[in-house]
Symmetry: C2
Subunit: 234 residues, 2 copies
């Protein structure tokens, strides 16, 4: 029925016509040296599907994507970045917008002691230590309008391996966003890299548990929820 | 003329018919926690091309590949691994063989303080430190026959960003392999992820500089050199 609703909407201007959206997707890579980097298991499938679903409802979408190996969604403008810092710059450049969906798995930390040449293994020397430093918090910056204009609706993602909902509620309050899509990315759930997802939509009023859905269906359902808040005339 | 030689060989049993080869390719990923890992920029293109080229000359090839986003070469057995430790196990399982080409960009270090749950950013707490520990040295283990049978010909790769040839000669002596294919992976060379490569073939006798070639051409040339040493009746 969700797809039917979207298909029905395709014949008309779409409930999000005239609205601007910024979506982040994929991982970020933080360089250790010219050869090595810190990555994470985000495939970008969920974020890319959300960008496509918002575009299908008529929104003008800028997708800011970390390094991924999936095709660009059709009908959206794609800006490719590597690090969290580059992603923040690209998001700010894409604002103002009516909505932001921060689905990227942004690295919490960057490498403080990044080397300009490849670190060499030296006989007898102890292994190097990688020192980390906090990355800019893109979701908080967008939610609080720090150095940018705050979209009317800001949606964040929480990827956790334990105490999922407590962490999601805490994140909602701490970051200042409107909704959190919380998903369990423990090994065995198949969420990272897989095609389906079990999510919980968390807002100030409570938690809504969604069934296991394809990532495309999660995206379609979320886009329709967004349209219900921001759609024509709202 | 290289391609012509291979094509000519295809009509016959091939100079490496009856010979077994093990090829490693791609990066390895070393887990930091269930979500994050240390990676490197190897695409697997060069290693996969070498596996295909050896198979084209008739060899029975096992390709042990780290996480890559390129298609499996045709006509080879592919074993997929993530970490350096898994790669070593898979290589040993594929031995004995007549030749081993270690083209993978194996992580020198694994994470000594790997976490079983996702590391959380905590307000006021300093960022974590990633402690590293040496990984098994796959090229040295194969070259020295440590816990495995030494192939007649062992070829290693050296990916460097500075003092390329000095490092390659040093690596040849230290690891005990027969040849080193040395390539410059500095930013700007386009080697990592690109389709061409500038390599130097280093053995105990000296250095041979090859021109810029497609990775497929580097692979074909290397396979023919291997066939000249190991081919029928040798």
């Amino acid at each position: 029925e969700i797809l039917a609703a979207i298909e029905a909407a395709l014949g008309t201007p779409g409930p999000l016509a005239g609205k601007k959206a910024v979506v982040t997707s994929g991982p970020t890579h933080e360089a250790i040296d010219p050869v090595r980097y810190i990555a994470n298991h985000s495939s970008g499938k969920q974020g890319h599907a959300i960008a496509a679903a918002l575009a299908a409802l008529g929104a003008e979408v800028t997708l800011v994507s970390g390094p991924v190996h999936i095709p660009d969604p059709t009908g959206v403008k794609v800006v490719r970045v590597r690090s969290a810092s580059e992603m923040l710059d690209a998001v700010k450049a894409a604002l103002p917008a009516d909505m932001a969906v921060c689905a990227a798995a942004v690295a919490d930390w960057t490498v403080a002691n990044r080397a300009t040449e490849k670190r060499k293994k030296k006989a007898g020397a102890p292994p190097p230590v990688i020192e980390l430093a906090p990355n800019p918090d893109i979701l908080a910056a967008v939610s609080k309008g720090e150095g940018c204009s705050r979209p009317r609706l800001v949606v964040g993602f929480a990827a956790e391996t334990e105490t999922l909902l407590d962490n999601a509620r805490d994140k909602l309050a701490r970051k200042g966003c409107d909704w959190i899509v919380a998903n369990d990315v423990s090994e065995g759930t198949g969420t990272f890299g897989g095609d389906s997802n079990v999510v919980h939509l968390v807002d100030a009023k409570g938690v809504e548990d969604w069934p296991r859905l394809g990532k495309d269906e999660v995206a379609a359902r979320l886009a329709l929820r967004i349209a219900a808040v921001l759609g024509e005339g709202k």
